[in-house]
């Protein structure tokens, strides 16, 4: 149980105060206050419920995106002229967009694009940033200093502006967007992986491996990497949501994944011209995106806490 672990750890970390202080010290977003004994049982169940609800939604979205080609859906690109800005009906459960394409089908195919962008950018950024961060943390010295300076410089740019510049120069395509997002996320992954590595290198099993005569490469791959994977993955999970929103922002500006590929962002952007007459065209994909990002944050925040690295090391 996450709660149990935390209440055990806090006094050791802070070194003062009893359980009453802990309730107040606990800064985190979704935390249960252990002092409220009456309500805590109910709240723990409701947390579980919320967590499962969020997970369920994410599984539904991913499942629908994966199964899109075999689901009984309309063609996402083919207009049905009886369905122009159509409301909800039996044949088109979520209605149609401004030129009559089926909203449900576009939503599900859009999930493919949005998730593909989010996931591949995160995987790319996490693998490159994670490895560089481990090297920085393990090797130290000049390598670390150079990497950290580059990291600082990259973080000095406002992200969306850099992304827009990249799209302006290289043109809007899925590859440019994925690579751009990945590049933007590398510095943070470097910092996270480095901070985690610094903690892990202090542990006995690393000392043991070194004493055993293992080369740095082997220690990094066999001892450090497995311990860095979890915090990096947990952070990467939240980044998927951030990237889905970033792709949406680009699409909103007309610089996202180019048509005909539907994405949530481009659906929301396209429906904006009809916002006052047919708000559902924009609002349905907007709601789906919001709920998905919310679920990712909720599940991710909960999971990340278990592998939390103290911020001071970042």
């Amino acid at each position: 149980m996450a709660e149990a672990r935390e209440t055990l750890e806090e006094p050791i970390l802070t070194g003062n105060g009893g359980p009453t202080d802990l309730a107040a010290m606990e800064p985190d977003l979704l935390d249960v206050e252990p002092d409220q004994t009456v309500a805590s049982g109910r709240r723990r169940r409701s947390f579980q419920f919320g967590w499962w609800l969020a997970c369920g939604w994410l599984i539904l979205v991913v499942g629908a995106a994966l199964l899109a080609p075999i689901l009984p859906l309309w063609e996402p690109g083919t207009p049905d002229y009886t369905n122009v800005a159509g409301g909800l009906s039996a044949s088109h459960p979520l209605g149609g967009d401004a030129i009559g394409r089926d909203n449900l089908s576009r939503l599900i195919y859009g999930a493919r694009a949005s998730l593909l962008v989010g996931l591949s950018a995160v995987v790319l950024g996490a693998v490159i940033g994670g490895l560089l961060g481990i090297i920085a943390g393990y090797v130290g010295g000049k390598v670390e200093r150079v990497l950290l300076t580059l990291t600082d410089a990259t973080l000095a740019f406002p992200g969306l502006v850099l992304l827009i510049a990249a799209v302006a120069v290289f043109g809007a395509s899925m590859t440019v967007i994925i690579v751009g997002l990945a590049v933007l996320s590398i510095p943070t992954f470097i910092r996270l992986a480095r901070a985690t590595t610094l903690v892990i290198v202090q542990r006995e099993f690393v000392t043991a491996a070194r004493a055993y005569g293992a080369r740095p490469m082997r220690v990094m791959l066999r001892e450090v990497v497995p311990n860095v994977v979890l915090p990096v993955a947990a952070y990467g999970f939240i980044m998927v949501g951030v990237f889905i929103v970033a792709e949406g922002s680009l699409s909103f500006l007309g610089l996202g994944i180019p048509p005909p590929t539907p994405s949530w962002g481009s659906m929301i952007a396209a429906g904006r011209t009809e916002l006052l007459t047919h708000p559902q065209i924009s609002l349905i994909p907007a709601a789906v995106m919001f709920v998905t990002v919310l679920s990712i944050n909720y599940v991710g925040e909960r999971t990340r806490k278990r592998f939390e690295v103290k911020d001071s090391n970042l």
């Binding site: 003062n16 105060g17 009453t20 202080d21 309730a23 107040a24 010290m25 800064p27 985190d28 977003l29 979704l30 206050e33 002092d35 409220q36 300076t149 600082d152 410089a153 000095a156 740019f157 406002p158 969306l160 502006v161 850099l162 827009i164 510049a165 799209v167 302006a168 120069v169 949501g241 929103v245 949406g248 922002s249 909103f252 500006l253 007309g254 610089l255 929301i268 952007a269 904006r272 916002l275 006052l276 708000p279 924009s282 609002l283 907007a286 995106m289 919001f290 990002v293 919310l294 944050n297 909720y298």
Partner: protein, 351 residues
Amino acid sequence: MSAGLAASPAADPTAGATVAAGAPARAPRGRRQRRFAAVVGKRLLHLLIVLLLVTFASFAITDLLPGDAAATVAGENATPEQIAAVRTELGLDRPMIVRYFDWLGGVLTGDLGNSFRTGQPVTEALAQRIPVSFEIAVVAQILALLVAIPLAVYSAYRPGKLIDRSSMAIGFGAAAMPHFILGMVLILLFAGGLSSILPATGFVGFFDDPLGNLKSIILPCLTLMLGEAAVYRQLLRSDMISTLQEDFILMARSKGLSPRRILFRHALRPSSFSLITLAGVNMGRLLGGAIVVEVMFAIPGLGQMVAQAVYDRDYLMLQGGILVIAVSYVVINALIDLLYAALDPRVRRRG
């Protein structure tokens, strides 16, 4: 009921007095100043390096463009010799680094070239747009702080109670709400959907019509402030909760001061360092980072200028916009770092 002011850490109340009186064992004044100067020097050097990188990246945007600028200028039927002549004339045959410093010299004298579309000098366009973005950013920040600070203080005072829980839940939702969705919802609610009390687009200058100006920036500022307020509340609440555990708060309580006075006069200031930092960083980010919101509400600020320049392929405008956004972001961050070092003796000492 345990947390906040009601908590009573078992500590000697007199210990609080020394903590409140300031950090123990201060270094002599001269040495402190030298150390502070060293910190400032180091930060300035760092700032210079980052500024060079940032300006170089802005410069590189026009250089990375596909296609040959010389060939474009020379026209369609130009011979290779003519293109080469144009290239020499434009100085494009020189190495990139030489052209960069040449360009940087122009930037420092306020010459960013002219818009490819309208012929307007880029510097002039920037001068018109910076105040607009600045106004939106400042108002959004003030609104966010006005909402976040009372909520955070009360939440820290009574953690786990209704206000704390509900503002936490709403904040969690607000933090997950993209600007383009929130803006759309606000337009639907206030500007044409359910009611039409506010304009959805059309910016009115403050000096033309102060009231109209206020009306035209309400929705964009609301869109920007909600997510920020959520983050600010969370940050200040947790900092405040740890401050309230300190001995000098116990001291203040034992003197019989009212909770309001303790919270706002004694606890707020030492709790607000990270809040000030984050608000400053966000200020820098908002100046140019409000692209989506500026486009959505047709606010003629920096962000909209950048977006428009991308649509028009007006690369000098794009370059100028990105330059200003990136440089102000970097400079504001550096200023906050320094301010932080000046305010918080611990940072100074760490060097």
